[in-house]
Point group: C2
């Protein structure tokens, strides 16, 4: 059986008239008659009871007509779906992110994607370190990444979307919590809770900032993630330097303070330079153009046109 036959059959079933059905199909009547006979012979059963005056479905034809509507509709939606996936308007987007991006940038991003590309399903791969994201982007098991530059290895394109200062996290009753202006050197004698993972870009930034300020932080404890790091700070085991996005974690017993010369850390959108799937390109466009819009709006004087 072929879809051509099924389409012809469905049209004849709907009109119960070979001539009019042929017309609707932009086809000559004998060609249609022949096609239906062919289908009947393929199936080994009559689908129509026909005289020259009347065409009616047999029970088998009745059954096939119901099925044909389902099948033809499924084919149409499949074709439309393929086109959507091919253009990036639909399909699955696998988005990787570093720990802190989950609370700071993710919610708005997902909202923008849902608004601009409603047929795209977003699959979140949270708490992925930058090198892991780069590997998975290259091997094609991730479509986009939110990571800390620089990207490791070849073939990854990035665009910085935000620059955050490192801020101080201290226990609520710590003496630094009350200090008005904090400089990095003020932390040189403090015990630090540091990110334990060698691949952590935030850890690198913290160590580099301290080195620039002329000291090596005293490694009191190690934490595998920002939330654990803050928990250890809350427990009074030390102080920490974390990206500003960590403010939104708002752990009880921890307060955050600016550090004048603590340096910054970037967050970037990353994708595979080649072999980027259409959804990735489409979502990237939407996210980056949204970013540009926001920056433009921020650069304009407040109180502009509504």
């Amino acid at each position: 059986m072929e879809l051509r036959q099924l389409r012809y059959f469905a049209t004849v079933a709907e009109t119960c008239h070979f001539g009019r059905a042929a017309e609707r199909l932009h086809l000559a009547q004998p060609a249609l008659s022949h096609a239906i006979r062919q289908l009947e012979s393929d199936l080994g059963t009559a689908l129509f009871n026909r005289t020259t005056r009347h065409v009616a479905l047999t029970p088998a034809g009745e059954f096939l007509y119901e099925q044909s509507r389902t099948i033809l509709a499924a084919v149409d939606t499949a074709v439309a779906g393929v086109r959507r996936v091919a253009t990036g308007l639909g399909g699955l987007l696998r988005l990787g992110l570093v720990g802190t991006a989950a609370t700071s940038h993710l919610p708005r991003m997902v909202r923008v994607i849902k608004r601009e590309l409603p047929d795209v399903a977003v699959e979140i791969h949270a708490d992925m370190l930058t090198p892991a994201q780069c590997d998975r982007l290259r091997e094609g098991t991730l479509d986009l990444g939110l990571l800390r530059p620089p990207a490791t290895g070849e073939g990854i394109a990035i665009r910085t979307i935000d620059t955050e200062p490192l801020i101080l996290a201290v226990p609520r009753d710590h003496h630094l919590a009350a200090q008005p202006r904090i400089k990095l050197v003020d932390l040189r004698t403090e015990p630090f809770v540091l990110y334990g993972n060698r691949d952590s870009a935030v850890n690198d930034a913290v160590l580099q900032s301290c080195r620039a300020a002329g000291f090596v932080p005293h490694r009191e404890h190690e934490a595998p993630s920002t939330s654990v790091l803050l928990a250890l700070v809350a427990a009074g085991l030390g102080i920490g330097l974390v990206p500003e996005a960590a403010r939104s974690l708002a752990l009880d017993g921890v307060v955050h303070r600016e550090v004048i010369d603590a340096g910054h850390i970037e967050l970037a959108l990353a994708w595979a330079e080649d072999s980027e799937p259409p959804v990735a390109a489409a979502v990237r466009d939407v996210l980056l153009s949204q970013l540009d819009t926001d920056q433009l709006a921020a650069s304009l004087p407040a109180g502009g046109a509504a």
Copy 2:
């Protein structure tokens, strides 16, 4: 898009190898390559990323493969279903019945159909009088009928499947309930509850039996159905003559008694002589052969081989 293309595509998607897929499809490799190129150009998008060393699905191809499995499975079940409906092994059977057949013969019949033709769906059209069933059999909106012979009009074939005596229905405390041998003439002075419908075959049989016994029953009340008739008898409004099948209705306050010379009434299976759908023929065969088996068993001496 054609099913041929979809079948080819699914095979390539499964093997990720044009040569092996072509082999599986009993096709030369260039023909398959060409067919896939054709499909890709129809859809306006690539379905495979191919080098001479590696074939992999694109996101659009991935999507189409999932859809193709659904569609191809639907096509296969549709074709199988058409064959079943065409042979009568499947489909919808619309079965008409007179009121009393619902409790007497229907349950066993449905059980036999379910056992022998599990893919046949039975639609019951209960409480249909004989002439109405004949009309609907002729116009093709009913497939089989359980009715009281003779059938009215042309084109209806019937086979008698049971002969029931008419029995007496009386209130529990009626004097006839205690009488050992009842003859029709004993009822000549009694008030009767009769079937009200002019088309009722049971009513005809009752009136004819009484006429043969030399009297016209005194029409005290009329009932549209056997169950209502028995309810009126229970209420003490008169006596009734009903088919033996009515025993299974077992209304409280009503007792049934044999009447020696009350005559019999037949129940028959009926179908349209021409234009009988396959499912009707198949079910009829099953029911009638079951009937023959039962009669053979009944005619043999009891305690035969297991």
